[in-house]
């Protein structure tokens, strides 16, 4: 069997490998959950990785051939976003965690594209994930969608246990509620320095609560998700780029190693993770330069 090139990627090296991988993919097609269970029960070593790699290879091959895509989902991935958005960043981190190829489209929210307006008519905001052309909106919804559709591919973002999932969802909701509203206050809705300071103190209070949550959820491990980045990690991690910029504005660190030491170490680990590279902004000046554009977009929306 000759190599089958797919967009420049040679997937199969020999006929025996092809047959082996075809049988695996047949197993996936017949019983995707069974394979997912096998993958989750494997200890973290190369056997799991090779099944995952095989699975991803099958997905790419099948997509190209128009074959049914069980356990992975049919169709190309496209993400509409703005590079500074915490909500977009978290989706990109998850796509990276699962090594999912996707087309990224930087949106101009001052002049919204027809694709954005058509895909998210209710909110007209980013992120929007398009999967085979079908839109999925709301960042936490998108993250869970990716985790479910590609359940057997790469690490899981949400835990398997229902109680642990509920705890993760609770803290994720808490982050977007408390940190999110303070973030809006610190950057966009404050009209005076007093208002900004008030928002900063709300952010710091929320981060102090999250310090406790990290201690509890991680059980001494590196992330809220334990050994690996999980749901709460990506949700909070999306804000880190802006925290760096806000630190410059206010002249002190929001995640203060003296007050929230666990979170300070967590931030270093998260930023250093492969999945965060290139998507979590680390240039505070670049973000601050972009802030007037964002403020202008918000002002034009308000008209």
């Amino acid at each position: 069997m000759s190599n089958v090139p797919i967009k420049g990627v040679d997937v199969y090296q020999s006929s025996s490998q092809f047959i082996y991988q075809f049988l695996i993919s047949l197993a996936v097609y017949i019983n995707p959950r069974g394979l997912a269970r096998i993958i989750r029960s494997q200890p973290e070593h190369s056997a799991t990785t090779s099944i995952n790699a095989t699975h991803v290879s099958y997905l790419r091959f099948a997509h190209h051939q128009g074959l049914p895509m069980a356990g992975g989902g049919e169709g190309e991935l496209k993400l509409l976003g703005v590079w500074t958005s915490p909500f977009v960043i978290r989706v990109r981190v998850v796509l990276n965690l699962k090594s999912l190829p996707y087309e990224y489209v930087e949106e101009n929210l001052g002049s919204k594209s027809a694709l954005l307006l058509g895909s998210n008519p209710v909110h007209q905001s980013v992120p929007v994930l398009l999967h085979g052309g079908r839109p999925v909106n709301e960042s936490q919804v998108i993250v869970q969608y990716i985790d479910e559709v590609w359940a057997g591919v790469g690490p899981s973002v949400l835990p398997a246990d229902p109680y642990e999932r509920a705890v993760a969802r609770f803290w994720a909701a808490y982050v977007d509620d408390k940190v999110g509203s303070a973030w809006t206050g610190m950057l966009f809705s404050c009209k005076t320095e007093e208002e900004r300071a008030e928002a900063v103190s709300r952010a710091v209070a929320a981060l102090e609560t999250l310090e406790g949550a990290l201690a509890e959820c991680s059980g001494g491990k590196p992330f809220f998700g334990g050994d690996a980045i999980g749901f709460v990690d990506v949700v909070l991690g999306g804000y880190l780029g802006w925290f760096g910029a806000i630190d410059k504005i206010i002249g002190r660190r929001l995640i203060d190693p003296a007050r929230t030491p666990l979170l300070a170490r967590w931030e270093e680990r998260f930023r250093a993770a492969d999945a965060a590279k290139g998507v979590v902004p680390d240039d505070a000046d670049k973000m601050l330069d972009f802030l007037p554009t964002l403020l202008a977009w918000i002002a034009s929306k308000a008209k």
Binding site: H131, Q140, I142, A166, R169
Partner: protein, 222 residues
Amino acid sequence: MAEKGVKVFGMWASPMVIRVEWALRLKGVVYEYVDEDLASKSDALLRRNPVTKKVPVLVHDGKPIVESTIIVEYIDEAWKDGYPIMPADPHDRAQARFWARFADDKCNAAIYPVFTATGKAQREVVREAQRCLKTLETALEGKKFFGGDAIGYLDVVVGWYAYWLPVIEEVSGASIVTDEELPLMKAWFDRFLAVDVVKDTLPPRDKLLALNMARRAQLLSA
């Protein structure tokens, strides 16, 4: 000594609590219900939910779960062989979660002002509430329930509108969900309230009406 069983900390007039009860009853789960006085919360509640201190709280074998929509998903996952609450297809699940967020964030925020608004201001807030509900209504098109032929997650999350909105309308004198403005939603209200699990769990209407009238009077005099 492991605590066993299912307990719900709630408040009889709370729509967020009733979601949890509907979900448990759909699964046929037997639970103990603890009614809270929100003006004087019990130590048990505060111990179980120290972060937000709100109801509902579900305690399952000693473990507390909070936030009503999170609890509903938990119930679906913990009793996965029972009645299916979440849709099976991931895209349908994403849609259901999207609309649930929209309802809780946007529709509720648009509905609350109707409660205390009067006169011309009331007409404005009613129109805004109707705009939100009309957007939500698009998720009903061509279906008996948001969940399809049978009630599902989104019905459980927004179902409280079917019982509480008419009460809010009566208390405030406003007219929000009418045959002219929201025909699909009005028809869904009737179908939803006819579902056994739903109608067996509703708080008494006269009590709910009296509570809301008193609350409205209190807010207007403040």
